[in-house]
Amino acid sequence: MDVVWFVVLAAFIFCIGAAGVLTRRNPLVVLLCLELMLNAGNLALVAFSRMVGNREGQVFALIVMVVAACEVVIGLGLIVAMYRRRLAIDVDEMRELSG
């Protein structure tokens, strides 16, 4: 398979994830869509790494995975804290999280 197929697939998955972030209101699902976007990026990285013949893309993808894991951890911690406070689990209600 030509590399271009993988890259286009990655673009597709990325945009699906973006649409999900914009439309869903449950923060859990928003995080999941965010994961989608990250994975799409990983796919593109690995595909280009294969194209160039260099392993650096793969290492990059590995680090991205680590970062994604950290971000998920914090995000889920936030959602749990929100749930504990009896706050609405709705991204549109969370408007005053600044400061």
Binding site: A18, V21, L22, T23, R25, V30, D92, R95, E96
Partner: protein, 669 residues
């Protein structure tokens, strides 16, 4: 010390006095602010005498000393120094100004002593003396105009000294605005002179006058007339005279100093100083003479009917300055300056006496309410009468010699000037009449209650009020103090009035025709380049004039005696018979109403137009409102993006990303 050094000291003393009083006033106990200020002016007087001595040591042709402290600016062809000119004219003026100012300061020490603004008063007064001395000692047009403007400012500050009185502040504004009109004339005139001759200091300008201008050259005449505008504004001549009677709102010593003896004489000094210019443009000199004559007649007629004591004296000042302007306009410099000196003496004396009377009246200034103070206030009576006699040119007072010096010179020149001189003689008779109108009305007749209580030993006290409008006042700062002072009870006041009385009597001694010519010889070096130098009426003609003048004054005094003492009530019947004449004179020939309609109302209407249309509608509405509403719309837009919704932010991100991608796509294709 050189003459130039003394000259600088003359100017420096009152400046230092003003600085000391204004900075240290909190720590100056009692009346010491007044004594410090008086001392400063005395120092000035002493320095003027020093300068005089230095000048007289020199031979007659070398009596003009120009001394410069530093270069003020030297740029683009304009060279101006911080320089003074010490010559007989400026020393004469400095002596008169500082001498009379000193006596008035001493008078004020007592007169203003219960006023809350005591130190402020003396600071202003010293500032005024400094400005006036700067004006007369200036050696170039720039310093002259600086001094001119300062004097106007000092006059404003002092007229509105009792600043909580609306009448006073309005009068101060009126004086200031008219003075500014004069200032504009001065500046434009100086500019014209500079443009044609290329110089701004007197020595160079006068040397260049004959080459730069033909006789009665248009530019020169225009410049001189502009200078005359300044002179008329400062000296309260027609048509810029309306501020002087209102300026009587200031304290009486201020009226004595500024509006009798010194500031209003600045116009006379100006014409005398710029005499080379005026002689090269005699048309302007004629304008000055005619205006002076018109003013003296006008003011004399109005002084016949006004009932406020200080205003009578104010119109008398206007009239006498008219004589002086007429004199220097006809190139009778020595005579005009002589009258300036004697007028300073007796007019200051008259104002001081009036201050004393007003103090006895508890602040009331109307002649209608005063009567019979002769026994209650003997000292004031004597000195006031001396002043009135000098004003009326009663022989052998100084006023006779000075006034007739002018008129004799004019008769000698003939033509237009003879006509003006005849008008001057007529007005001299009227002068004597109204001067003694004052004397007889105030001091003769049955004593009013204030005089009666004073005879009994009690200085009368009443409610404090504004003498012009009658409304009640308190005595805190900004209003006159609680106590009234009269000469009989205050030694400083008597110490000031006595020398003036003496000088009014014997002052004529410096210019008795055919006998002494002290003044003539002293001032001669300053005016030796005059075309009419050396032209003198014959001694016989002068004595004839003196006799005529003396007779006219006697006639006037006797007429006043008959109307006010012998058969009082005649004047009331005359007034009832000629109501329209009386009204015309009482309204000062309706000048104020004319100016109100011509100038004040259009200016106010313009201001109102500016406020409603330009300011409110245009600036506030369109410019500011437009700008703010644009900004507000922009911020509303920006605010809508920052609403806290996560999804909105994400949307903006995606939009931005797609926009960027589109851009790069387009760029690379």
């Amino acid at each position: 010390m050189t003459a130039g050094g003394w000259g600088w000291l003359v100017v420096a003393f009152p400046l230092v006095g003003c600085a000391v009083v204004s900075l240290a006033w909190r720590w100056l106990p009692g009346r010491s602010a007044g004594w410090i200020a008086s001392g400063a002016v005395l120092g000035s007087f002493g320095s003027a005498i020093g300068a005089l001595a230095q000048l007289q040591d020199r031979p007659a042709h070398e009596r003009t000393v120009v001394s410069s402290l530093f270069d003020y600016f030297h740029t683009a062809g304009v060279n101006v120094d911080m320089g003074i000119q010490v010559d007989p004219l400026s020393v004469f003026m400095a002596l008169v100004v500082s001498g009379v100012s000193f006596l008035i300061h001493v008078y004020s020490v007592a007169y203003m002593s219960s006023d809350r603004g005591y130190a402020r008063y003396f600071a202003y007064l010293n500032y005024f003396v400094f400005s006036m001395l700067l004006l007369v000692m200036a050696g170039n047009f720039v310093l002259l105009i600086v001094g001119w403007a300062f004097v106007g400012a000092a006059s404003y500050l002092l007229i509105s000294f009792w600043y909580r009185r609306t009448t006073a502040t309005r009068a101060g504004l009126k004086a200031f605005v008219m003075n500014v009109i004069g200032d504009v004339g001065m500046v434009v005139g100086a500019f014209l002179i500079f443009r044609e001759t290329g110089f701004l200091d007197y020595q160079h300008v006068f040397a260049a006058t004959d080459h730069a201008f033909a006789v009665n050259d248009g530019t020169l005449v225009a410049a001189c007339i502009l200078f005359l505008v300044g002179a008329f504004a400062k000296s309260a001549q027609l048509p810029l005279h309306t501020w002087l009677p209102d300026a009587m709102e200031g304290p009486t010593p201020v009226s004595a100093l500024i509006h009798a003896a010194t500031m209003v004489t600045a116009g006379v000094y100006l014409i005398a100083r710029l005499h080379p210019l005026f002689e090269q443009a005699p048309a302007a000199g004629d304008v000055a003479a005619i205006v002076g004559c018109a003013t003296l007649l006008f003011a004399a007629t109005v002084a016949l009917v006004v009932t406020d004591l200080k205003r009578v004296i104010a119109y008398s000042t206007m009239s006498q300055i008219g004589y002086m302007i007429m004199g220097v306009g006809s190139f009778a410099y020595t005579a005009g300056l002589f009258h300036l000196m004697t007028h300073a003496f007796f007019k200051a004396l008259l104002f001081m006496g009036a201050g004393s009377v007003i103090g006895a009246m508890g602040g009331e200034q109307s002649l209608d309410k005063m009567r019979g103070f002769r026994r209650a206030m003997p000292f004031t009576f004597v000195t006031f009468t001396v002043g009135a006699l000098a004003l009326s040119a009663f022989p052998p007072m100084s006023g006779l010699f000075s006034k007739d010096a002018i008129l004799a010179f004019q008769l000698d020149r003939g033509g237009l000037y003879a006509v003006l001189a005849i008008v001057g003689y007529i007005a001299a008779g009227i002068t004597a009449f109204y001067a003694f109108r004052m004397v007889f009305r105030v001091f003769f007749g049955d004593p009013v209650e204030q005089a009666a209580s004073l005879e009994a030993g009690e200085l009368w006290h009443g409610e404090h009020f504004n003498p012009a409008t009658g409304e009640a006042e308190d005595t805190d700062v900004g209003f006159p103090g609680p106590e009234h002072h009269i000469a009989e009870r205050e030694r400083p006041m008597r110490a000031a009035m006595a020398p003036l009385a003496l000088l009014s009597i014997v002052g004529g001694i410096v210019f008795i025709p055919g006998v002494t010519d002290v003044l003539e010889r002293f001032l001669e070096p300053a005016f030796e380049d005059s075309r009419l130098a050396g032209q003198q009426p014959s001694v016989g003609a002068e004595w004839a004039g003196l006799v005529l003048g003396g007779m006219l004054s006697v006639v006037g005094i006797v007429a006043a005696w008959r109307m006010y003492v012998y058969r009082p009530g005649i004047t009331l019947r005359i007034r009832d018979r000629l109501p329209r004449v009386h009204d015309f004179l009482l309204h000062k020939w309706y000048f104020d109403e004319l100016y109100d309609a011509l100038v004040v109302r259009p200016a106010l209407a313009f201001g109102r137009f500016g406020q409603t249309v330009v300011e409110t509608a245009f600036v506030q509405g369109v410019v500011i409102g437009g700008a703010t509403s644009v900004v507000r719309a922009g911020t509303e837009l920006a605010r809508a993006i920052q609403n806290g919704y996560l999804r909105t932010y994400a949307l903006v991100l995606v939009i931005g990303l797609s926009g960027l991608g589109l851009y790069f796509l387009l760029q690379s294709s």
